[in-house]
């Protein structure tokens, strides 16, 4: 512990000097100091105002003084008045080390000014410029004597104690490993069984004590957390923006009477490492990473020569956003390998297939969990905030190492001969899942895969239909309500469905590199704007929007779109009928540079209809769509240029634009 550095600092507020010309050299002076005794933890403030002889003839002196901490909280105060001088000495207890304490003093002239009965303001304080803080106090009640009293605050004196006693401080974390946020209790139970248990939060507790080991109160600590970009942000490589690091429940705290303070760190849903920094009095006490992770995840072993599976979706497919996507709990990894082994022995017995399962028939395990667990955001951004229903995305559940997707593409849903008996292959696979620990298999055949869940509890096994469809041919508004027209359609809010009533993204026929094909549009945040989204599109993609058109008529349909390519077009359909023809997507120079393109005079029928945004072509990148805007078509005023106008236009190489009604060069 260092001893107190006692500073007595004299500060004179030579306010009167500033007005000396008006005060004829009269003056008021102020003094202030603060002293902290480390043995008693008492701060003593001294403040004084002194007026010179002439000023004192007309004004009284007053001083108001305060001792404050670094946040401006007043810990003690005092004030007094005098004829020529005003002085206070006062103290505050529990004034402890390592923080900034100030004494703030106001030097005040306490004037008695006679007004109508004879103007007296010899030094012109009534004309103080506005950048000097001053005020008049209150009316005195001797009005009949034509007298009122005014306090004129003429100076502020601040003395700061910054180099005070430093207590010994230490900080300890309750843990340096925490679970990602957003896990269900059942998932936590699964993760922490067997031990060790990893908690949801990390509590950082700091202690302050003096050389005698006695607790010291009021020591300030600051708790901050930042994203620590290690291990590819917990598996999310090249994602947009910074991974949300989590937060402390208290950023600034002071030790209590027991010399202790605690702040709780709550992680975000993304796995990774966050850096914790705790400072006190400008000194860094703690600088450590905290790992946000699901413990015990292990990489699923890459397939050996005769294994009946292959890994897809991550590094093996050149995925740049989550190259380490096959981490799981050991039981889940065992389950996956057992599934592959059972699949092999059932469908491709060694007697008939001595070289193992043919390459094209091997199970395709796509995306388990990331190396740290946590949200497995398959899109190249860190999803933040509460998402409306249409933004809920797949892979949300791939966060604790008990899930994996398995492609159904090379396991046709038809009758196949298994051991001499005709079987439904998908049903056989589901029974293999059940026997090997996938307790709640989610059928997502509309996305060409199963979603396996290895809970290994006594959960039985059952299947859930993960592809939810509306009535045949129906289109369901994204949030249950048709978009009102005239109005704006957010392109990302396309109608719900999994198959062919809400949206569609075409496949090239060979399947995607990762073996699992998501045939619905992606929804991505606008760069740097998590409150706005867009949909990247390719040729052949379409999205439906259920709208409620207020009245039949002609409309202008506009689209806000960005594209670095020329030559792409889209069209709009109403209830399956092309109502616009091809509309050119402008080359805006970048997918992120948006431009509004419009088409006029489009007839729309009143009532509820389904409008479709169709990208012409097949599979080529077309553009990023932000919104569609549909408003009544404003018929341009009739344009009847004179022959002289036309001649002049053409003579100068122009072309008359009848919509704009002027010559365009």
């Amino acid at each position: 512990m260092r001893t107190t550095s006692l500073y007595t600092f004299l500060f004179a507020a030579l306010v009167c000097l500033a007005f000396s010309s008006r005060a004829n050299g009269q003056g008021a002076y102020g003094y202030a100091s603060i002293d902290i005794d480390p043995s008693t933890h008492i701060a003593t403030g001294y403040a004084s105002t002194e007026l010179d002889y002439q000023t004192a003839a007309y004004y009284n002196a007053e001083v108001q003084a305060y001792i404050e901490n670094e946040y401006g909280t007043v810990l003690a105060s005092a004030s007094t008045t005098g004829v020529q001088t005003a002085t206070v000495v006062f103290s505050a207890s529990n004034i402890i080390q390592c923080i900034i304490h100030r004494i703030r003093v106001y030097t005040i002239l306490n004037a008695i000014i006679f007004d109508d009965c004879g103007y007296v303001d010899p030094f012109g304080f009534g004309y103080l410029p506005f950048d000097i803080w001053w005020d008049y106090g209150y009316w005195w009640n001797d009005r009949w004597l034509c007298r009122f009293e005014s306090f004129i605050r003429i100076a502020e004196i601040i003395e700061t104690v910054v180099d005070c006693v430093t207590a010994n401080v230490t900080c300890e974390p309750s843990t340096l490993q925490v679970l990602p946020a957003g896990l269900t209790q059942a998932e936590k139970n699964s993760i922490n069984n067997p031990a060790p248990a990893v908690p949801d939060t990390a509590t950082f507790t700091c202690h302050a004590f003096d050389n005698l080991g006695q607790p010291v109160s009021n020591i300030a600590f600051s708790f901050t957390v930042n994203t620590n970009n290690v291990a590819h942000d917990g598996g999310h490589q090249n994602h947009t923006g910074a991974r949300p690091p989590g937060a402390f429940n208290h950023a600034n705290l002071r030790t209590d009477g027991s010399g202790q303070v605690s702040s709780v760190f709550t992680p975000d849903r993304f796995g990774g490492s966050s850096n914790i920094v705790i400072t006190s009095n400008g000194t860094t006490i703690v600088n450590t990473p905290v790992f946000i992770l699901v413990p015990g995840l292990e990489a699923l072993q890459p397939a050996q020569a005769n294994d009946a599976y292959v890994l897809t979706g991550s590094a093996e497919d050149g995925n740049n956003y989550h190259p380490n996507g096959h981490y799981a709990k050991p039981q889940a990894n065992n389950g996956l390998r057992q599934i592959a082994a059972t699949y092999q022995s059932t469908f491709f017995p060694a007697a008939n297939f001595p070289n193992g399962v043919p390459q094209g028939d091997r199970l395709r395990f796509n995306d388990a969990s990331l190396v740290f667990g946590g949200v497995f955001d398959i899109t190249p951004n860190f999803r933040q905030g509460a998402a409306p229903s249409w933004q809920l995305r797949p892979h949300d559940e791939h966060h604790v190492g008990i899930n994996c997707d398995l492609s159904d593409r090379n396991i046709p849903n038809n009758q196949v001969m298994v051991n001499g008996v005709l079987r439904n292959r998908w049903q056989v696979m589901e029974e293999i899942f059940c026997a090997n620990g996938s307790t709640r298999t989610n059928r997502e055949h509309c996305r060409h895969h199963w979603h396996l869940r290895f809970e290994f509890g006594q959960n039985g096994c059952h299947e859930t239909e993960g592809c939810y469809e509306g009535a045949a041919g129906s289109s369901i508004p994204a949030d249950g309500v048709a978009v009102a027209i005239p109005g704006v359609i957010q392109v990302e809010a396309y109608d719900k469905s999994d198959e062919d009533t809400g949206s569609f993204v075409p496949d090239d026929g060979n399947g995607p590199a990762d073996g699992i094909y998501y045939n619905y549009p992606q929804v991505l945040w606008m760069p740097g704007n998590v409150n706005n989204s867009y949909v990247p599109t390719i040729g052949g993609q379409w999205m439906n929007y259920t709208v409620n058109i207020a009245s039949a008529g002609t409309y202008t349909i506009s689209a806000n779109v960005g594209s670095p390519f020329s030559g792409n077009t889209f069209h709009i359909e109403q209830d399956g009928v092309n109502i616009t023809g091809p509309i050119a997507i402008p080359n805006t120079g970048s997918f992120d540079a948006y431009q509004v393109v419009s088409i006029n005079n489009i007839s729309l029928a009143a009532g509820q209809h389904v409008l479709g945004l169709y990208l012409d072509g097949f599979l080529q990148a077309t553009g990023n769509f932000d919104y569609l805007s549909i408003n009544p078509y404003q018929v341009p005023p009739a344009c009847h240029p004179s022959s002289a106008q036309l001649n002049a236009c053409y003579r100068h190489g122009g072309d008359w634009d009848y919509d704009l009604c002027y010559c365009v060069y």
């Binding site: 946020a181 949300p244 059972t342 809920l392 008996v421 039985g460 059952h462 299947e463 939810y468 249950g480």
Partner: protein, 342 residues
Amino acid sequence: MLLRLLIDSGRNHSPAEWFHSLMAKSTRMKKIFLIFLLGTQVAAVACSSMRAQTVIQRQALERKLGDIKLSSNYQPRVRGYDPKTGSPITYDHKPRLEVVDAKARKYVLKWIGYDGQEKSAAFQRSDAVQVMVVASVSRTSRGGYLYTYEVKNLPSSGASLKRFIVQNVAADVTAENDGKLMPFSMSREIPFFNEGNWLSFADVSDEVQIDPGQSVVTHLTSSAPPGIVRCLASAETVVEGADEDVPDDLESLIAGFDEYPHGYTIGPVDSLKSLSVNKRVEYLLENLPVFRKAGWITEDAVGKYQELLKSGDLKASLQQAEEDLRAEQITREVYEIFQAMK
């Protein structure tokens, strides 16, 4: 005398008139009638009791058919996370459960979805089936045992049978794929199945459906003699109908393995190959309560075997089993286990 009174009183009367007439004759007559009535009741109960002791009554697999309920203090549903604090943003999704068909164990879970609209998911519990298992054993040409399980989906069942899971404790069990139910080994990673080995025979063909009232037969072979093993059966559960993820509340409503209809049957047990005589006697004695619980043995037979086995007379017990099988005092399962103790 009673008979004469009854005959006399019954002449020329309708049954009702006869009864009133009889009762009206005298207090003495009433007393005689009550004594007669009491006597017939006692006799009936006694006969009934004797029947219970003399006829084997095989039991269906046990089910826990209590009401299923949602927890009253359900957790609010998470719909997103605060981007600054990471704290979950929750809402009250108001889950509720509706019974569609109690016998078929069909239910609908309803809740308020992410979009504020009511959602629902229909499901049928795996314990919807009522199943009886009849097992028998025969010797194969190679000296092993062929185990045959007839799995009866009883007419009172509420669903088709999806799978039958049976335990064994032997190293060389081979499941026969007879074209109906297909065999799969249950992973020992699943805690429920970490004792011994479990084979699941499942309906995985579009051609096969074991409806209530129908049976299916499966086979195992092993060199291990028959002993007591456990078995399960289940209906198929597919949760369907929602247009968003089903809330976690569903998990407490779906039957787990420990809630599947369950019971005992016989299956290969390696350890029975080399038991001493005393251990064989001990094994049989220990399992008499299982035989009784499964309805494989009459009460009389239990008493006889207890007596014989406690005296250590295994040979007499085996002879007794031969007789009792013919007399339908024990089922084939009990007989086979006794035979395995030779």
